[in-house]
């Protein structure tokens, strides 16, 4: 890929961000959904669930939603609400870890690559191109083959897919920022290169990265569910929205709630991060407003 320097819009991601986000329709709805997801996830993480997510109630198998089990029970009499909450915690853990990992690594590779330029830039970006040549889910599956299935390995699988994306998103703005006068000025003042990169270039490239973080969270939520659905991610009996959906197959006629609730949970979570991403982009990049 050739280096395409984007016209630069420097927008501060400061304290006014939240206020501006709340005034944006997509941003506000997205933020609300993400907050809901966070609350449910944290409750699940702390095991503050109505029942244990693994506890089986053999007498209460496949009960439709009722006052005891708000979202019904599954084939083993496990409480769907509790499993959904712990599933939220699990997907949240995978999403946050994988996006932190890929975001940090990708941003580092991208900014250094763009800032230093030359051969290093060429080598790093060619290596990233190799990763781009794989459809994302296949690359994630390949990582799972090497590491074996499991929740933590899903984190690495998603991180491998997203690191090149972050690298590319971070590199673009660096190319235009590093040619700006304030960078030259800093250099004239004798500021060391590492410091220029960290304090002068990086903060001015954050806007697209922040938007990308939101989209990456949405994608990692989907991928965790997808891999678990295929049996390559979170392993049963540990609850994950993907595992729950997969277990609902074949029972959907008998117990549609087993499919509806995890399905809705995934949709609302993804919708939340997508809307938040849209809102952030509107707020941070005025050129795209209303698109």
């Amino acid at each position: 890929m050739s280096a395409k320097a984007e016209p630069l819009v420097v927008v501060s991601a400061g304290p006014g961000l939240l206020r501006r986000l709340l005034h944006n329709r997509s941003g506000a709805v997205g933020l609300a959904l993400v907050a809901l997801y966070l609350v449910v996830g944290v409750l699940g993480l702390l095991n503050l669930t109505p029942y244990s997510s693994l506890e089986q109630h053999p007498i209460d198998r496949l009960l439709p939603p009722n006052s005891h089990y708000l979202m019904g029970t599954d084939l083993f009499g496990r409480d769907v609400t509790s499993r959904l909450m712990v599933g939220a915690a699990n997907s949240l853990r995978v999403a946050v870890l994988s996006v932190t990992l890929s975001g940090a690594l990708g941003a580092l590779l991208g900014t250094v690559s763009g800032f230093v330029g030359g051969t290093l830039d060429n080598v790093i970006m060619r290596v990233m191109d190799v990763f781009f040549a794989f459809p994302a889910i296949l690359l994630a599956m390949l990582v799972v083959v090497v590491l074996g299935p499991g929740m933590m390995n899903t984190v690495f699988a998603i991180a491998v897919v997203y690191t090149p994306i972050f690298a590319r998103v971070a590199r673009g703005p660096v190319l235009s920022v590093k040619a700006m006068e304030f960078v030259t000025a800093a250099r004239c003042l004798g500021v060391r290169e590492g410091r220029i990169l960290l304090l002068h270039v990086l903060p001015n490239t954050l806007a697209p990265l922040i938007v990308q973080v939101s989209l990456a969270l949405s994608w990692s939520l989907l991928t965790e569910a997808g891999l678990s659905f295929l049996g390559l991610g979170t392993q049963p009996p540990e609850p994950s929205w993907g595992v729950m959906l997969s277990e609902s197959r074949g029972l959907a006629e008998l117990a549609p709630w087993l499919m509806i609730y995890p399905g809705l949970a995934i949709m609302l979570g993804v919708l939340g991060f997508n809307l938040l991403g849209d809102g952030l982009r509107d707020v941070l990049d005025p050129r795209l407003r209303g698109r």
Binding site: F134, V145, L271
Partner: protein
């Protein structure tokens, strides 16, 4: 044009080499012994001589670099190895499954464009109207609905309300029984097409909004052209470039096998082949399928670049050199 194509192909060589190294390394990184992985528990019954003979046969006794070079040499000649599980050469297994995926991909793409383009154009032309709002809502849902959920829902609705099981029975080739084949491929294609139509819609809408504000649209209108002609002939044609881009990328993904949808609907496509190869630890097949899919992906991207020149005469690769 041909010079450009040749240049692009040469520029792809390092990427292709990188892909092959990555695939080769990934399989070598799998923990455990390759012989054990191949034979399972039966490997324990081998004598040391038999084991050495097998290792020599598969070239596992040679240093990794030598293994890679000889593997690459074979790949270039079209020999992707032998699938233990299928009892057939890897390339044969892949080519037998590939038509299913191609059919699914093409049908899904048609569905996505048939929904996404008109809705996107309408949304942009009636900007901020009820239609626009409905269109945007549709896109939001489409983007948030994972295809394993939509697929499961479609199967549920079909089986409960129409007593049809789209994934029942063996897959029938399009040449054997076109109607039955369509019945088997249509619903998975709808599942894939729906998700993608949402991105088509969004991209079309935003590109149309941008184009509709251009001077030449005002000119076309002031010439007295009918509105639909302005929209289709002048606006849409110019708004198509980003749509072609995402359609191309999506086609690459679709041809890479839509693992989840093929799995849900029990279609013997290339994605399911890859998944089963992984689950069954058929490493020669994993290696072959992965390489095949990545090559496909790269080729599709090249084709998309060429398509640009056909849609937009301003994009010329010849002069750039």
């Amino acid at each position: 044009m041909f010079r450009y194509l040749a240049q692009r192909l040469i520029a792809f060589l390092p990427t292709l080499l990188g892909i092959s190294i990555l695939v080769f390394l990934a399989i070598r990184l799998v923990p455990g012994d390759a012989i054990v992985a191949m034979l399972g528990t039966e490997a324990g019954m081998l004598t040391q001589t038999q084991r050495d003979a097998l290792e020599a046969y598969f070239g596992l006794d040679k240093p990794p670099l030598e293994q890679y070079v000889s593997w690459l040499g074979n790949v270039v000649q079209g020999n992707l190895g032998f699938s233990v599980r299928h009892g057939a050469p890897v390339l044969d297994v892949i080519l037998r499954r590939f038509p299913v995926t191609v059919e699914l991909a093409i049908l899904a793409m048609i569905i996505a464009l048939a929904i996404g383009l008109p809705v996107g154009v309408l949304s942009a032309v009636r900007h901020n109207s009820v239609i626009d709002l409905a269109g945007r809502l549709f896109a939001l849902i489409g983007l948030a609905m994972p295809n394993f959920l939509l697929g499961t829902l479609i199967i549920y609705v079909l089986s409960v309300y129409f007593s049809v099981l789209p994934n029942a029975g063996n897959y029938v080739g399009i040449a054997d029984d076109p109607l039955r084949n369509l019945g088997q491929v249509l619903f998975p294609a709808m599942t894939l097409g729906f998700s993608f139509s949402a991105s088509v819609m969004r991209t079309t809408r935003s590109a149309m909004l941008e184009v509709m504000g251009e001077d030449y649209i005002r000119t076309a209108r002031s010439k007295g052209l009918r509105e639909w002609r302005v929209v289709v002939r002048h606006a849409l044609r110019n708004a198509l470039i980003p749509v072609v881009t995402i359609a191309g990328v999506e086609m690459g993904y679709l041809l890479g096998g839509t693992v989840i949808v093929e799995e849900i609907f029990s279609l013997p496509g290339i994605g399911r082949l890859a998944l089963n190869a992984i689950l069954q630890r058929d490493y020669a097949l994993v290696q072959g399928v992965t390489l095949f899919i990545a090559l496909n992906f790269v080729l599709i991207n090249l084709i998309v670049d060429v398509l640009y020149t056909l849609i937009d005469p301003r994009v010329s690769y010849v002069r750039k050199g």
